[in-house]
């Protein structure tokens, strides 16, 4: 099976020297619903920009359904539909024309373009607004217009850059439902977001990007498991030579006086301490091992709330 997207050692240095991407690797399987998660300024839009030919890369390779962006740019472009982060349609064009023109740019004949524009505008609840100029739409409608526009040439890979930023909860949920349907019909979807909830509700696989580096690339399940586990560091009164057996708590002896214990969040630590006292192990102090991933999420949550 070909992958929908293969990125290798992708680098981007903007003209005034910002290292936005420091060599990222990313693979998205065909049919996947994939989230690229990361805080503001992490490099999500830069990555999307490079994949969609809007940003020139500084190094690395990108393949879209096997087509190399440098060698077969047309094939790669044809496969992609893009919903960018910022509105980028002609504000003075009627809604329907925005979709029909975009289809035309992809070589869709006018009659087919009109049919598809109708289909997707209806599905996204914009058909009544087809003659309205884009500028007159509400923010949520503009977002949906960009989704309709991205679908008119029926791409195999739909990329959405923060599609629900600034969209109210109700609309967000209906957009999620719509995207699930698009994905279930076989379209691979990649979206960037800084809402963990969004990724959790939609995506099977996920990559987390921070400061231009991929810090996690796994299934949503594994990620959640990791997030629900924390590591406690215990300083011991007397030296141990082998790690103790603590039922339900995997542990590791870092040095004779330091023990690291893995704790599931819902598990609690009372049972841990009763086992320790039964074994006669005296703990002098206890702290959380800092968790890079968790810090990242805390910072994202803070950003969303601000």
């Amino acid at each position: 099976m070909t992958n929908a997207l293969e990125i290798s050692q992708l680098k981007k240095t903007y003209s005034h020297g910002v290292d936005a991407l420091k060599g990222i690797d990313l693979t998205v399987e065909e049919g996947d619903f994939f989230a690229l998660l990361g805080p503001n300024g992490a490099g999500k839009s830069t990555t999307i920009g490079i994949i969609t030919s809007l940003v020139n890369k500084s190094g690395g390779t990108v393949r879209v359904f096997g087509a190399d962006l440098d060698q077969q740019p047309m094939a790669a472009k044809r496969a992609i539909g893009l919903v960018p982060q910022e509105f980028n349609f002609n504000m003075f064009e009627p809604v329907e024309e925005v979709c029909i023109n975009q289809a035309g740019y992809y070589g869709v004949t006018p009659p087919v373009a009109r049919q598809r524009a109708e289909r997707y505008l209806r599905q996204l609840g914009l058909w009544e607004k087809r003659r309205t100029i884009a500028r007159a739409l509400s923010g949520g409608m503009k977002r949906r217009l960009m989704i309709a526009r991205a679908l008119v040439h029926e791409p195999c890979l739909l990329i959405l850059d923060e599609p629900t930023a600034g969209v109210d909860i109700e609309l967000r949920r209906s957009m999620w439902q719509f995207l699930r349907e698009v994905n279930s019909r076989g379209t691979t979807i990649i979206l960037t977001t800084h809402y963990l909830e969004e990724a959790e509700s939609l995506c099977r696989n996920i990559a987390i990007i921070d400061q231009g580096r991929i810090v996690e690339h796994s299934s949503m399940k594994e990620l959640l498991a990791k997030l629900h586990r924390e590591t406690l560091v215990l300083d011991l009164q007397s030296a141990l030579t082998t790690p103790p057996t603590l039922t339900g708590y995997p542990c590791r002896l870092v040095d004779p006086h330091t023990l690291e214990v893995e704790v599931e969040r819902q598990q609690g630590i009372n049972a841990l301490f009763s086992s320790l006292s039964q074994l006669g192990i005296e703990v002098t102090s206890l702290r959380n091992k800092s968790n890079r991933l968790e810090e990242l999420f805390l910072s994202m949550v803070k950003e969303v709330q601000e």
């Binding site: 969609t52 020139n56 472009k77 002609n90 023109n101 070589g107």
Partner: protein, 255 residues
């Protein structure tokens, strides 16, 4: 290739719709300005001036005035359309789509040429109210009009690529295009100039276009026709090459 052809048509139609939608801003003003030129320079002042190269002054200036409208409008169409697309970012709709750079450019240029032709025709109608326009060589007229419109559409495109603000799209027309057009012999034959300024004028590309066009209508020209076409064609080839390269590199449109 079929897909590319549809994409090309889409661009052209969109460009033409754009300027026709705002015809009050695009087609009417040149007609008003031309009317003023004919009344003031042709009628009031021209009646006091001796015939130039065997033609009444009104007849002599008509070709230059028509061509000036074509130059200005071809340029203005592309520079404002493409800069607008950059400014509102909908140029991205084209950049992500599977269309060759040269075809994007050609589509946009055809839009500029179309506006040049529409305005040129409108202004010609105005001119016909004031003079009996002759048609010495239709082929030369058509060729000059098309090539001139192409050349200035390309100029407008390069201007738009580098423009970073709305001011930047009026600097070139105001400080370069208009002076060159006026000094290109719309209102006079360069033979009226002192020898030194005649020589200087020969470096002005617009002089060749105006004279070739005047030849097409009246049959008189200050410069050789073959030379004029060679210079115009070479300039087009150069500007087209530069434009495709700029688009390919993404100058001004891709970071």
């Amino acid at each position: 290739m079929g897909g590319q052809w549809i994409a090309f048509q889409t661009i052209v139609i969109k460009e033409i719709r754009r300027f026709m939608r705002i015809w009050v801003q695009t087609v009417v003003p040149p007609m008003v300005v031309t009317t003023l030129y004919f009344i003031i320079f042709g009628n009031l002042i021209g009646s006091q001036i001796a015939p130039v190269e065997g033609h009444s002054y009104m007849d002599y200036i008509a070709p230059g005035i028509i061509l000036m409208s074509i130059i200005n409008n071809a340029y203005a169409n592309v520079v404002s359309s493409f800069y607008g697309a950059k400014f509102q970012r909908y140029v991205e709709e084209l950049l992500i789509a599977p269309i060759s750079d040269w075809l994007i450019l050609t589509g946009i240029v055809v839009g500029g040429v179309a506006r040049g032709l529409v305005v040129g025709a409108a202004v010609t109608v105005v001119a016909m109210c004031f003079t009996d326009l002759q048609l010495h060589s239709p082929l030369v007229v058509i060729a000059v009009v098309l090539l001139t419109a192409i050349l200035f559409s390309l100029g407008g495109f390069i201007n738009a690529i580098y423009a970073k603000s709305f001011d930047d799209i009026s600097i070139i027309p105001t400080f370069i295009l208009t002076p060159l057009t006026y000094l290109g012999g719309i209102f006079y034959s360069i033979e009226m100039l002192p020898p030194f300024w005649q020589q200087v004028s020969l470096f002005n590309p617009i002089l060749y276009m105006i004279n070739a066009f005047r030849y097409g209508l009246l049959g008189v020209s200050d410069v050789s026709l073959a030379g004029a076409f060679a210079i115009i064609s070479a300039t087009i080839a150069l500007l087209f090459g530069i434009s495709v390269w700029l688009l390919h590199r993404g100058v001004g449109v891709r970071s």
